[in-house]
Amino acid sequence: MAQDIKIVSVSIPLKLVQELDQVCDHEHRNRSELYREALRQYLKMRRWHALREYSAAKGSAAGTGHIDVEKIIEEIAV
């Protein structure tokens, strides 16, 4: 387990740390857990935005409107 974790040091404004500590108290979790969760969410959101950009371009290229989605699924899916 320890081999999968790297300890890093980052600088965070005091006010943000205080706010985070309040959340830690409220949720009975430690700082590391909350930092990890926030990072995971941030990275997932970045992936989603990249996929959205790619997908919107594909949708525009295909000229697909809202009402066509069901039709495409019916035609393509086995």
């Binding site: 295909a62 809202h66 086995v78």
Partner: protein, 132 residues
């Protein structure tokens, strides 16, 4: 994903993922809520297969692009096997939405934009709703 039992579980089908990806709107909001762990989304293996197929064959996604979408779905939703719940005829991802909704006793609603499913209104007391 959070394992808190109080988080609402919403079964979604292929159309919801495609709506969110292509057009944003309420379907995208569902995905964002799942990322922030406000809700849990559930889909199944046959729908992931269908999603990949529709993205590539119907919308011109590259195989790598479709794979990345499916990886993302696996990371932000619960993906169940299709054999969970009673079999109800031939392979059909739309039937899968109903099966997985019932098989997982905690499903709050089943979200779809599929007109035939929406006409059912509910399935074994699980509301079938449009999010648009």
């Amino acid at each position: 994903m959070s394992t808190e039992s109080s988080t609402e579980l919403i079964a979604v089908d292929t159309g919801i993922w495609i709506e969110g990806l292509l057009y944003g709107g309420p379907a995208e909001e569902l995905v964002k809520m799942a990322v922030s762990q406000s809700i849990k989304l559930m889909t199944c293996e046959s729908m992931l297969l269908e999603l990949s197929q529709v993205l590539q064959d119907g919308l011109g996604f590259s195989p790598a692009g479709a794979r990345e979408v499916c990886r993302f779905v696996r990371d932000c939703a619960i993906v169940v096997k299709d054999d969970e719940g009673p079999a109800s005829g031939p392979f059909d991802p739309r039937a899968s939405l109903l099966r997985m909704s019932v098989a997982n006793g905690a499903t709050a609603i089943a979200a779809t934009e599929h007109s035939r499913l929406l006409r059912l209104d509910q399935h074994e007391e699980i509301p079938i709703v449009s999010i648009m």
